[in-house]
Symmetry: C2
Subunit: 331 residues, 2 copies
C-alpha cells in the first residue's frame, strides 16, 4: 500500500504538500496540486485512516445505537443516517442496546472505545442523569425519540402525546366511545406519552378511562395477540381498539380474524408508526405516521452542523399525522 511518502517522492514534493492537497488546503499552487494528484492516481494511493485519525484526533465516524435491528422500525432510520453521513464521507458504526440499561450503557462505552466522533442514540433504559453527564463529555451526542429538558438542544423527538391523541380522537369522531387500548411497556417514555394522548382525547368528550380496557404490551406482534385475547376474554363492551404501535395492531387483528370476526365491521383499529407494511395488510391500517426516517436524517444533519460545521437548519421536534386507511370505520 502506497503511503503519503511514496506520493511525495513521485511528485517531487514534501509530505506536507501532499497532506495539503488531501485536506483541500488552499495554499497549494494549481500546478503542484496537479502533480500530486497525478502521483496519487498513479500509485492508487489511499490514505490510511488510522494514521489520519491518530494525528488529527478525528475519525469521521459516528456511532449509532438502536434498541434492535430486526424489527420494521429502525431500518428506515438507519438508511437515512447512513445516506446522509456517507454523502459527507463519514461512516457509521452500529451497536444494539436491546432496550436494557446495562446493555445500552455497555454499547455506549463500546462505541466510545471505538473512537467515534459523535453518537446518535435511541435509548430507552438509560437514565436521564447518565445521558446528561454523557452530553457534557467531549463526544457530542444526539438523542432520537427522547426529550430531556436539560439537554433539549440535542434531542430529536416526536410529539408522541399528540399522536396518541389523534388516534383516539379519530375514533371518537367516528362515533366510538368504548375504546380499548393496547399500550407499549409502561416504563418507556413514548409508550407513556402515547397513552397520555389517548386519555386526553377521551377526557375531552367526557369519557372516563377504564384501566381494565387497557393492556400493557411490549411493542411486539405477539403482545398484540396477547392483548387482544385478554380484551376479548373480558366481559366488557368496546367497539374499537387503539394500539401503541402497528406491530401490535397486526397481532391483535390476526386474533380477531382467526375468531371469524370481520375487521373493521366488527371492531375498529387504529395503530401507530405507519410502518411500511401498514398499507399492505388487510385491512390497510389507519394509523399515526411516525416520521422516524426523517428524524434519523435530522440526527445526521444535526451532527453535520454541530460537529463538522456544515451550515444546515435543524429542527428538533416532529409532529405525527393521522393516516386514514381502512381499519377503522364509524360505529
Amino acid at each position: 500500500m502506497a503511503t503519503i511518502y511514496d506520493v511525495s517522492q513521485l511528485a517531487g514534493v514534501s509530505l506536507a504538500t501532499v497532506s495539503r492537497v488531501m485536506n483541500k488546503n488552499t495554499n497549494v499552487s494549481e500546478k503542484t496540486k496537479q502533480k500530486v494528484l497525478a502521483a496519487m492516481a498513479e500509485l492508487g494511493y489511499r490514505p490510511n485512516t488510522f494514521a489520519q485519525s491518530l494525528a488529527s484526533n478525528c475519525s469521521n465516524s459516528v456511532g449509532v445505537l438502536v434498541s434492535q435491528l430486526d424489527g420494521p422500525y429502525y431500518g428506515p432510520m438507519m438508511a437515512e443516517i447512513e445516506a446522509a453521513l456517507r454523502a459527507d464521507n463519514r461512516h457509521v458504526i452500529i451497536a444494539v442496546g436491546h432496550s436494557d440499561a446495562a446493555q445500552e450503557i455497555d454499547s455506549v462505552e463500546f462505541l466510545l472505545s471505538k473512537g467515534c466522533d459523535a453518537l446518535i442514540l435511541d435509548v430507552e433504559a438509560i437514565s436521564d442523569e447518565y445521558l446528561i453527564k454523557l452530553s457534557q463529555s467531549s463526544t457530542p451526542i444526539v438523542l432520537i425519540n427522547r426529550y430531556i429538558a436539560e439537554i433539549s438542544d440535542c434531542c430529536i423527538y416526536l410529539n408522541n402525546e399528540l399522536g396518541g391523541y389523534l388516534a383516539t380522537r379519530h375514533l371518537i369522531e367516528l362515533g366510538h366511545r368504548d375504546i380499548a387500548y393496547i399500550s407499549g411497556p409502561a416504563k418507556k417514555h413514548d409508550a407513556i406519552e402515547r397513552l397520555e394522548g389517548h386519555k386526553r382525547a377521551l377526557a375531552e368528550v367526557g369519557v372516563s378511562f377504564d384501566p381494565a380496557l387497557c393492556f400493557e404490551g411490549d411493542y411486539k406482534e405477539d403482545s398484540g395477540v396477547d392483548g387482544m385475547n385478554y380484551l376479548l376474554s373480558l366481559d366488557k363492551k368496546f367497539t374499537a381498539v387503539v394500539c401503541a404501535n402497528d406491530q401490535m395492531v397486526s397481532g391483535a387483528i390476526s386474533v380477531c380474524l382467526e375468531r371469524g370476526m370481520k375487521i373493521p365491521q366488527d371492531l375498529s383499529f387504529v395503530g401507530y408508526d405507519n410502518i411500511p407494511f401498514a398499507r399492505y395488510v388487510s385491512p390497510k391500517l389507519t394509523t399515526v405516521n411516525n416520521p422516524i426516517h426523517e428524524m434519523g436524517k435530522m440526527a445526521a444533519l444535526w451532527l453535520l452542523k454541530n460537529l463538522y460545521n456544515k451550515d444546515i437548519a435543524v429542527e428538533n421536534v416532529f409532529e405525527p399525522e393521522l393516516v386514514v386507511r381502512n381499519s377503522a370505520i364509524s360505529i
Copy 2:
C-alpha cells in the same frame, strides 16, 4: 484521556509491559500485571484504537454491505452479524449498495478506505470477475446470498432453486396445475434460481411453463400489486400464484382483497423468505423459509474463524424449508 504512558508511570513499569498486559501476552509476572491493571483502573484508561490499528495494522472492524437497510429482509441478518462480532469486541461498519453496480463498487471502496479488516458483502450487481479479483486482495471477503464457483469457500448462500421448487411443488400437491408466477428482477441470481425451481416442479408433473403467466417484479410490495393487476387482466385461468418473495405476495394479495376476492378460497398464494410479518398478515402466509439471519451469523463466524483464527465450524450452503400456513389450499 490517559495514555499508555500515564499508565506505565503510575504502575512504575515500561510502555512495553503495559502493552503486554493489554494484549494478554503471557510473559508478564502476575504481580506486575496486577499493578498495571490497577493503574489502568485508577486512570480510567481506554486504549486509543487508532494508535492500535496504526501500529498493529488490524482494526477489528468489518464492513458490511447490504442492498438496502429499510426493508424487512436485512434487519435480522445485520442483527446476527452485529451480535456475533460484538461478542468478540469487533465492530461493524455499514454501507448500502442499492442494488446498483456503480454504487456497490463505490461502497466496497468506501469500506476498504475505512480500513476494515474484512468485508461481508450482499451484492447483486457487481460482476463475478470483480469479486474474484477482490477476494485475491489482502482484505478477506465473504459473500452472502451468492455463489461463485471460483471462490466458493467464501460464499454463504441459500439453495434458492430448491426453495422455488418446494413452493411450486406444494401447490401441485394441493392439486393446482395452472400456477402463475411473480418473479424477482431477471438480472438477480436468486430470482433466476427461484424461477428455475418453479419450472422444475412444473416439468416434473408434465406441466409446461407459460411465460404469459409470469410477471417480472422487483421484490418490492408495489411490484406485487402490479404483477397481480397484470395477471388478473389476462384472459387466462390460474388457481394459484407463487411470488419470489413475501413482500410481493402481500402486495398481490392486497389487490385481490380489494377486488373482493377471498384468499385462499379464490386463489392460493405461496411466498418466499418467511419474513417476520408473514405470520401476522391475513391469511397467514404459506412461504419458503429463508434462514437469512443464520446466514448472517455464519458469515460473522466465518470471519472469526478465517480472519481472527477462532476455532469454529462453518457451513456454506443453507437449505430452505416450506412453511405451511393458510394462504394456499387444495383446489
